[in-house]
């Protein structure tokens, strides 16, 4: 299979869909009538269907091109325009403008989205500037900015569902056109992007070599990265501003043409845009032919991601022929703390104090009140399960994060990235879509089933490759794409039940009852005990599988075992606080940055940090905007994320 043949293969169904629409909608209108006629059918074809098709081709091409540039520059086959936070920045800007400065949207919708995307990128660059835009730091910064802005966006939606209904349609990527202005806007920008990419292509191709060699050949890596990233982001932000969030094409198109045999950078530069355009156009045309008359809005962007995620899953086993370039240097961490035990004890004490505050201090019908002025049944009884659940979930996520980061040797890994949380989330959203009312028991079952199914998928796909970390993460990312896509489709649909689902997605301990809190605490305690003996493995695994094997480890079996533990931890925590509490990413990092470098110390440290973060976040979430509540997962992401960004800048 060559990329050319692959594209030809895609072009065929597109031609069929196009001719079907022309014949069907056109009702046998002649070509002349179609081009110049004034009948409503002719107008629809000329001003809605044709620009829609053109915009899909152009937008898909733009994202494909942006994806190639980003993947090459960041030397990461998983990079996409969303990696650097551009789409989430654009979205946050649009949402904030709708709520706080609607006049900006009257002035220019595209301008607002563009400004938001540029701001997010500027932030990412600022965070990675001192490290001269090194790929690892860039990707890490992008991920945190993504999380941060994404969480803020969801929070705005949570509290303003009615006012933001239109923005959710944009967020899901609907390609509907009502004149040619979209094409007029995008086409010259795509052309400029192509020219720019062509100019940069020779220098960028050298990045296939490793950094030292590239530098020896006289390439200024810093300026090259700046130019290439700037170009990619410019393209992505133009498309996103105009058509909404369609990040998936930017990830999938370059990856697929690469697997189809586009080995060199220049070949990918040629074929990824072609493939991206065709893919988006097929999705859009197919949707309008098959579900065009449904009462539910079926947004192309999100559906492409939903359909594309299984495609990505299918591709993963075939990725072996592609050896991705090394991601290049890890982040150095501060020296090991001299007395880690004392530090962990201090954090643990802080956690206990925080739990006390969480139980005793709070507002009620008359504002802040003394702990003893209200009966236990009216305050404490409601707080106890939440504090317990928050602490236990924080511990489990932090532990799972430590294990998966060490297992994969990837600082970006987190239990959420493994897809288990997303699987649980999918189960819950599915329940929401197909059942009219859901009891707690039913949602727990659906969530558990989703998590288990994802775990099964992870094992089925990765067993043969010996649970190679990079593939594991790719599998997880596919499931996350699927989850995000389904979430966007549900949110765009305007269903009033979205609020409940969103609150859970953002990570809230709201619905935890005492029996459930006790169960979670028991599970957390048991898992901490179970994982303790495995610290030795976790010291070895980051050294690489060859080293570990040489030291007498059965790498495959230990990976599977650790993976199972991570899954249990993640599923348990997710069912309590939802899939989006990024404590599992942040706590292990914090522990490492704070000098807990050995596996056992890092595990213990991130457990107490995770508990502290979640209990603190839960309390803040309950009290900050009383009587309304901010989901604790969201507060944890914002707290942890702020600290993380501050540390990252000083690295």
């Amino acid at each position: 299979m060559t990329p050319g043949r692959l594209c030809a293969l895609l072009a065929l169904p597109l031609c069929i869909l196009v001719s079907y629409t022309l014949i069907h909608t056109g009702h046998g209108l002649g070509l002349h009538a179609m081009l110049f006629g004034d009948s409503i059918d002719a107008v629809l074809i000329r001003y809605s269907w044709a620009p829609g098709l053109a915009v899909a081709l152009i937008g898909g091409a733009g994202l494909g091109l942006a994806g190639v540039l980003l993947q090459q520059t960041l030397r990461n086959p998983l990079a996409s325009p969303t990696t650097l936070g551009v789409a989430s920045g654009a979205q946050l800007a649009m949402l904030s403008a709708t709520l706080f400065a609607p006049s900006l949207l009257v002035w220019s919708r595209g301008g607002v989205a563009f400004a938001g995307g540029a701001l997010a990128l500027a932030l990412v660059f600022a965070l990675a500037w001192r490290r001269r835009l090194a790929p690892t730091v860039l990707v890490l910064a992008g991920m945190v900015v993504n999380l941060y802005f994404g969480t803020l966006s969801l929070a705005l939606i949570l509290f303003n569902q009615e006012r933001l209904a239109g923005m959710m349609i944009w967020g899901a990527g609907s390609l509907t056109q009502d004149n040619w202005s979209g094409v007029v806007y995008l086409l010259p920008r795509l052309a400029a992007g192509l020219v720019g990419a062509w100019l940069l292509s020779r220098a960028l191709a050298l990045l296939d070599l490793d950094e030292v060699n590239a530098r020896n050949l006289g390439v200024s890596l810093f300026y090259l990265r700046l130019a290439s990233l700037g170009l990619a982001v410019f393209l992505a932000v133009c498309v996103v501003a105009r058509l909404g969030n369609i990040g998936f094409i930017g990830l999938a198109a370059p990856a697929i043409v690469r697997i189809a045999g586009a080995r060199t950078f220049k070949a990918r530069l040629l074929w990824a845009p072609v493939f991206g355009g065709l893919l988006l156009a097929i999705a859009d045309q197919g949707l309008s032919v098959f579900v065009g008359d449904s009462p539910m809005l079926v947004p192309t962007g999100a559906v492409t991601a939903a359909l594309g995620a299984p495609l990505l899953l299918w591709l993963i086993p075939r990725l072996s022929m592609v050896r991705s370039a090394p991601t290049g240097g890890t982040i150095d961490v501060p020296a090991r703390r001299r007395s880690p035990g004392r530090f962990i004890a201090v954090v643990a004490a802080a956690t206990v104090v925080m739990a006390g505050i969480g139980l005793l201090a709070g507002q009620g019908a008359t504002g802040w009140h003394w702990p003893w002025s209200l009966p236990w049944s009216e305050a404490g009884a409601w707080r106890l399960p939440r504090v317990m659940a928050a602490g236990a979930a924080g511990m489990m996520l932090a532990l799972a994060g430590t294990i998966i980061q060490r297992l994969s040797g990837n600082p970006l890994a987190s239990p959420e990235v493994l897809g288990i949380s997303a699987g649980a989330g999918l189960g819950l959203l599915g329940l929401l879509l197909f059942s009219s009312s859901a009891s707690t028991g039913l949602s727990l079952t659906a969530g558990t089933l989703g998590a288990l199914a994802t775990l099964g998928l992870l094992i089925a796909i990765n067993a043969r490759s010996g649970f190679e970390p990079e593939r594991l993460l790719l599998t997880g990312i596919s499931v996350m794409f699927l989850f995000t896509a389904v979430q966007q489709i549900v949110m765009a649909g305007g269903d009033p039940r979205v609020q409940g689902a969103l609150a859970w997605i953002l990570g809230s301990t709201y619905s935890v009852s005492l029996p459930r809190a006790l169960v979670v605490c028991a599970v957390a305690a048991a898992m901490i005990a179970v994982t303790r003996p495995f610290a030795a493995w976790l010291d070895l695994l980051p050294l690489g599988s060859a080293t570990a094997r040489a030291l007498g480890m059965d790498v495959n079996r230990s990976r599977l075992l650790l993976l199972l533990m991570v899954s249990v931890l993640t599923a348990g925590a997710t069912l309590i606080v939802g899939p989006l509490s990024f404590v599992g990413l942040l706590a292990p990092h914090l522990a490492r940055i704070l000098g807990l470098t050995r596996a056992r110390e890092q595990m213990a440290g991130s457990i107490v940090l995770g508990a502290l973060l979640m209990i603190g976040a839960d309390w803040l979430g309950r009290e900050l905007i009383f009587p309304a509540e901010l989901p604790s997962g969201m507060v944890a992401t914002l707290l942890g994320g702020s600290y993380f960004m501050w540390r990252l800048r000083r690295l």
Binding site: I40, V43, L44, Y47, S48, T98, P102, L105, V106, R109, E162, A165, G166, M167, I169, S174, T176, D178, N179, D293, S294, P295, M296, L297, G362, G364, A365, W372, S373, L374, P375, W376, S377, E378, A379, A381, W382, S436, S437, A438, S439, T440, S443, A492, G493, G494, D495, R497, Q499, G500, L502, A503, S508, Y510, S511, S513, F626, P627, A628, E629
Partner: protein, 325 residues
């Protein structure tokens, strides 16, 4: 044992030291009894039940029944989106409707909490605070109008105001009939849309209160295609192009920037109703509301249609600002 006694006992059992429990008991007796909850009475002097309504439609109906809720979910949002009848200024805000504040609820000495099955996941825990009544309009079989009447009666019964429900129903039916008389018999079918952005609208059809009210007024709805469980279809505007000539009713609020962009939209300008100038604007109506929403829609639509429709649409947009007048 009285409620307060029981609470104090729970406090002691939970391990609060004796002295604190004593302080606490006194505190409750002083505070909870008098200062916190001045008891409300209706005109006949009977004590009003203390009800918390999580759902806006139920808060609206309870207010119309003369039993205003003491607490409701997202009161600020209610005032923007539902508007009429206004909530009492003293109504407690409970936070998000999907997550009403349990601690606050448990301190309000409630007699009843009303929910819909949308909030079923909280039902068992709400039941620890006060009796819970779950009443649905949408998530059950039957047509929306009879479901709305049934829900009104059930709600009234739960707060002991069955007579008020019959008065409200008679009043609503009477007003809608009066409005219907003012409308031209051969008004073409109505197409009720609400803009989400410049290219997508919600169209109200089968299984919506809007559609039910249109039917009660003897008018017909131009949208005969299927709708979602909540009574609307969410469609791109080109789907409206093939609807037979109708009067397009644009329901507010119109999102910022939409009107400017419609001027450039070839498809919008080419829609049959827009071409013929048969577009009227009305302020927003809470479409998941109860009978007061139906009356409000009937009144707004009657005023819009009995004005000179053509002149109105030539004047351009009328009601984009606030959803509620």
């Amino acid at each position: 044992m009285s409620r307060r006694g029981r609470r104090a006992l729970v406090g002691v059992l939970a391990g609060i030291p004796q002295r604190a429990a004593a302080v606490l008991l006194t505190a409750i007796l002083c505070v909870t009894g008098s200062a916190l909850h001045a008891q409300a009475h209706d005109t006949s002097g009977a004590r009003l039940p203390r009800v918390a309504a999580i759902d806006w439609g139920q808060a609206q109906t309870l207010t119309a029944l003369g039993v205003p809720p003491v607490a409701a979910g997202q009161t600020e949002g209610y005032n923007i989106w539902v508007g009429a009848p206004k909530l009492d200024a003293a109504t407690r805000d409970l936070g998000l409707r999907a997550q009403p504040n349990m601690e606050l609820l448990s301190q309000l000495d409630l007699d009843l909490i009303t929910i819909t099955s949308m909030y079923a996941s909280s039902e068992s825990r709400l039941a620890e605070i006060a009796p819970v009544k779950s009443i649905d309009i949408y998530q059950r079989s039957g047509d929306v109008w009879s479901n709305t009447l049934a829900a009104t009666r059930e709600l009234a019964q739960a707060v002991g105001r069955s007579a008020a429900a019959e008065r409200l129903i008679d009043d609503t039916e009477g007003q809608i009939a009066q409005f219907a008389e003012r409308i031209d018999r051969d008004t073409p079918p109505l197409l009720v849309v609400q803009f989400m952005d410049a290219r997508h609208v919600r169209v109200y059809g089968e299984r919506s209160l809007i559609d039910a009210t249109i039917q009660r007024m003897g008018l017909s709805n131009a949208w005969q295609d299927s709708t979602l469980m909540w009574g609307f279809a969410l469609v791109p505007i080109q789907r409206l192009a093939t609807i037979d000539p109708a009067v397009m009713v644009v329901m507010g609020p119109i999102p910022a920037g939409v009107e400017a962009r419609l001027a450039d939209s070839v498809i919008w300008q080419r829609l049959p109703a827009v071409r013929q100038g048969a577009v009227v604007h009305i302020p927003g109506v809470w479409s998941y509301g109860g009978l007061p929403s139906a009356t409000r829609f009937a009144r707004l639509i009657t005023n819009a249609l009995s004005d000179d429709g053509a002149a109105r649409s030539e004047r351009g947009a009328v009601g984009p600002a606030a959803p509620v007048s």
